[in-house]
Structure formats: C-alpha cells, structure tokens
C-alpha cells in the first residue's frame, strides 16, 4: 500500500476502525445507492404518479382537475376500450402459440449435422431485428396488390385479402407478425433446454419403449420445465407490451379495430385526439393491474425458489 497523497485529517485509528467495523453493514447500501436512486426516480415513483394522474382531468399543460373515479367510469362506457381489451385477450391467447411452435422448431433443429449451428442462428434471426422492421416486412407481405401472401392465395384461386384493412383479420395479421420473432425466442430457450436434457433418462425411457408423443410428454417436457417457465413469462410480457407492431402496421386502424390497451393509452395521451393524460393514465392503470397478476405470480415462484435454496 502506498501512502495517501492527501494528508488524512481524521484521526487515523478512530475513523479506520469505525469503517472497518461497519463496512460490511454499509457496503451493500453504497453499492445499491445509484441503482436504487435511478430506479425509484424513473420507474417506481412514476407508477404512483400515473395512478394519481388517473384521478384527474389533465391536458398535460394546464391545471389538473380532480375527477375522482370519473376516468374509470368513462372507461366502462367506452367502446374503444372494450375493443382494446378484447384484442389484448386475443393477443395473450394466440401469442402462447409461440411456445409450442418454438418447441417444434427446436426439436427439428436439435441434431448434429454439418452446419447446424449456422442454421440455428439463422432461425433465430427474426428476434434480433427491430419490431419496426418486422412490422414493415409483414405490412408488405400482406399487401393486397403485390404481397407474397396474396400471390400465394392466388395460386389456390382465392381472391386477394387486404389483411390489414379488414376489421376482422387485422389483429390476427399483426399477431402472426409478432409470432415470428417470438417463436424464434422460444426456440432458442428450448434449444438451450434440450442441451441439458439427461441422455441417460432418454435411453432408459427408450428401453421402456417410450416413444413419440408419450416420450415428449412424460420424459422430455418435465426436464424442460425451466425453459417453459421462462418462455411463458417472456411471451406474456411480449403480448401485453405489443405496441410497436400495431403502431407501424396499422396505427390502430382500420377504425381503431386493431388497438390494444398499450396503443389506445398512447393515442389518448399523446395524439391529435387531444392530450388526455388523465384518461390515458387510467387505461395504463388497467393494463398495469393485468400485468400485476403475472408479476405477482412470477415473484411468488421466485420467492419459493429462494427459500428452497
């Protein structure tokens, strides 16, 4: 140890002793301080501020007017809110398809042939690129005049369908676009999980004549449980966060039929429809409460794992 350049003005023994005695108690808080500070300022406090704003009528600039539960009462009668909520449910349900699809692709690719690593990473590609690009690519794929989808439909003699301009199909069209990167994500989770599957158990199961679907269900899937858990978590979060694709592909249209809560909130708060921050915040709170169900479940599982350690 070199001598300190700046003369130490404190009585050396006392201060060193105090720090030495207490450093194990204080060190974690010093390490945590910057992270906790940033997280409180930008994440935790804003949650409560949003909840607070949801009880006001506010255009973002002028005075806030207290309306109590007024925004929530208005939501109850807002047809656009129900459309968004319904679409959120459709997103949640259909997005789950990414999990079996990802597993299927992973099982297909779980071989050792030449160049398989390159195949695996190319299959993973859609997840790496931005959702903005995915949205543009699919908007184009669906184009009624020259989109590949309609050309393919034409081979079967089906009239072109303007997927993104049709109220009935639009949400499904966007979800299909979202499933593309999400399947890639689930695939990579399962590929990693499959790497860790115990080959002896498989061998034993084979000797017991397990094969096909029974093998998958009773021997493989139980071992893939951690991967499935993570896949469910990220897929639920992904489904409820859906915003980018909707904004890029349809901007909520046609006639608001592809909105989800996340998008509707943004529209109410920040768009030409008027800066209704209070109303937007109320929508965000509803979305937050839905998400909270999953967050609580996740934390509960983590808590049990921690205690079991």
């Amino acid at each position: 140890m070199t001598a300190p350049i700046v003369p130490d003005t404190h009585p050396p023994t006392a201060s060193r002793g105090w720090w030495k005695e207490n450093q194990q108690r204080l060190a974690p808080w010093l390490f945590l301080a910057p992270g906790i500070f940033m997280f409180l300022v930008y994440v935790i406090i804003p949650i409560f501020q949003s909840i607070n704003i949801s009880f006001y009528d506010w255009d973002g600039l002028g005075e806030k007017t207290w309306v109590g539960a007024g925004n929530y009462v208005e939501l109850m009668d807002d047809e656009a809110f129900y459309t968004s909520l319904k679409n959120n449910v459709i997103w949640l349900v259909l997005y789950m398809l990414a999990i079996p699809m990802g597993l299927t692709v992973a099982l297909f690719l779980n071989q050792t042939v030449r160049g398989i690593r390159i195949y695996k990473s190319l299959f993973f590609f859609p997840f790496v690129i931005s959702q903005v690009v995915v949205g543009l690519v699919f908007a184009w794929f669906y184009d009624p005049n020259f989109g590949l989808l309609n050309i393919a439909l034409g081979w079967f003699g089906i009239e072109p369908i303007a997927v993104l301009a049709n109220e009935d199909y639009v949400t499904y069209g966007i979800i299909a676009a979202g499933l593309w990167p999400q399947t890639a994500y689930c695939m990579i989770l399962y590929l990693t999980g499959l790497n860790a599957v115990d080959p002896e158990q498989i061998e034993a199961a084979r000797l017991d004549n397990a094969k096909g679907f029974r093998m998958l269900w009773y021997v493989i899937l139980p071992q893939l449980r951690p991967a499935t858990f993570i896949a469910i978590v990220v897929t639920v979060i992904g489904a409820l966060r859906s915003f980018d694709l909707i904004s890029i592909m349809t901007d909520g249209g046609p006639w608001g039929s592809s909105r989800v809560l996340a998008f509707y909130m943004y529209e109410q708060a920040f768009s030409e429809y008027g800066f209704r921050m209070g109303y937007g915040a109320a929508i965000a709170v509803v979305l937050f409460l839905i998400m909270m169900v999953y967050i609580t479940g996740f934390l509960w599982k983590m808590y049990r794992d921690e205690k079991g350690r």
């Binding site: 099982l107 299959f123 959702q131 690519v137 915040a281 967050i295």
Partner: protein, 282 residues
C-alpha cells in the same frame, strides 16, 4: 417425439433431413429474403410491379447511396449509437454494483429490493409514460440523446440487476470469505475478486442491452422528435411515411436499420444466447 440422433437413422432419412433443413430455413426467412431482394431493385421494377420476378437491374449501390443522400438516415443511425452505447455502459455499471450487493450481503430488505427491481422490469411502459415524459421535460432533457439514455439506464437496471445478481450468486462464495479473512476491504473485493469473474456476464449483458435499446421504438417516440435526435427505429417510421410506394428504398432502409444488432448478434453469438437463456436451464 424426442428426435433420435439423426446419425442412427437410415441413410434416406438423413438425406431427407439435410434437404428439409435449407427449405425450412428459406420458408422461415422468406419475408426477410424478399426485403433484401427488393432493396436492390430499380424504381422502374417497383412501378412496373415486378416485385417477385428477376430484377431488370441490380441497383445495390444506387439504392443504398440514395437513402443516405436523400434522407437523414445517417443522422438517425448516429443518434441510435449515441443513445445505445451510453445506455449499455451505464446499465451494466450500475447493475454490477446492485447485483453484487444483493448477491453477497445478507441484510434486511435484501429480497424486497431485489423483487422491486424484478417487478419494475416487467411493468407496462405506458404506466411510466406520462410521468417520465414530464420529468424529462422538467430536466430540460426532452429531445436529447442523454434524456433518452438516462431513462433507458434506469429501466434496464431492473433486468440487469436480476441477471447480475443470479450470476454472482452462482460464484463460489468461499473466495469472498477468504478475502475477508485476509482483511481485504469490501470495495477491493468487488473490484479485484468478483469483477474479474464477471466477464462472461458483462459480455452477455452488453450485447443483450445493445439489441434491446437499438430496437426500442416506444420510448424513442415518447422522448424525442425530429430527425436531429430520433434514433433509427423512429426514423424508419417517419421515412416510411415519406417514401410512399418507394419500396426499394424502404427495404434498403430496413436492412440498414437491422444491420448493427444483427452484426452484434453474429459476432457475440455465444454471449448473446447465454444471456437470453439465463434461467432456461437449472
């Protein structure tokens, strides 16, 4: 249905599998291949509706120089880097410390703080949107790269802390105990004992955060506007509005926007996947 190793199957099956692989890949990436193909077509092909036939000419250089000359796409890319790189450094630095604190020390509230970070990392963006925008405006950071980067650092701290804490928790604790017995201070333990062991986690987290932030679109539209400060994702959206029917340019722009994270992924593949699949294997 667990696939038998293909080597044990008949020669015919093996050949079939090897043929099926590239076909499946082409189908899977078809939308992307189409975009790449279109990005080299001429404007004439686009107006003539020749989207899928053989291009009449290959305009690779023309199209890609055109987007850089006619649009501020270069500026958008630069803005993306200005937001992404500080975010990666900031979020990783902060979470090294929080992760260390939560993994190594036993103190009251440890689990509570850990859960705060996890829960915060999952909340919908919309519940933060209005207050964060106001805060950024109040700080005079609206429409600046650092305003956007600061928020990203704070928000990513949630995920990064989860990642780092679990990684450090898996390190051998005896190392830290031995150093303590030797009288090494806590800060030096962090810097000289634990940090060197965290290199794989640092690499994995850096590539992941790079991709997440590069691809962020929502916060870019909430906290910035205009070509001077918007990152490429938001920029691509507004360019798409300007380039009506100029699909060859839209495609070229999309490819350019996708390139940095794709390169990052290919260069750091192992780390990237290790990061993403954290927790997928026990």
């Amino acid at each position: 249905m667990f696939p038998t190793p293909i080597e044990k199957k008949s020669a015919a099956t093996q050949t079939l599998y090897k043929i099926a692989l590239p076909i499946a890949l082409i189908v899977w990436l078809l939308p992307l291949i189409a975009v790449a193909m279109t990005s080299v077509r001429s404007a004439g092909d686009i107006t003539a509706g020749n989207y899928w036939g053989w291009p009449t000419s290959f305009n690779l250089l023309e199209n890609y120089t055109a987007i850089f000359k006619q649009t501020p796409i270069g500026q958008y890319i630069l803005n993306s880097f200005k937001v992404t790189i500080p975010t990666v450094i900031g979020a990783v630095a902060i979470s090294c410390m929080t992760g260390f604190a939560l993994a190594v020390y036993k103190f009251k509230g440890n689990l509570l703080i850990f859960f705060m970070f996890i829960a915060g990392n999952f909340v919908p963006f919309q519940i933060l949107m209005v207050p964060v925008r106001d805060l950024t405006l109040d700080l005079g950071m609206y429409n600046t790269w650092y305003g956007l980067a600061l928020f990203h650092i704070a928000f990513q701290a949630g995920f990064c802390t989860l990642f780092m804490r679990n990684f450090i928790k898996a390190l051998p604790f005896e190392l830290i105990e031995a150093s303590r017995v030797e009288g090494v201070s806590e800060i030096r333990i962090f810097w000289f004992v634990v940090l060197p062991l965290m290199k794989p986690a640092l690499a994995a987290l850096s590539v992941l955060i790079f991709t997440f932030i590069w691809n962020d679109y929502f916060w870019a539209t909430v906290l910035t506007q205009g070509a001077d400060n918007q990152p490429i994702t938001a920029g691509l959206y507004s360019l798409n509005g300007q380039w009506v029917a100029a699909w060859h340019l839209v495609s070229a722009g999309s490819i350019v926007a996708a390139l940095p994270p794709v390169l990052m992924f290919f260069l750091m593949q192992r780390h990237f996947i290790a990061g993403l699949t954290l927790g997928a294997v026990k």
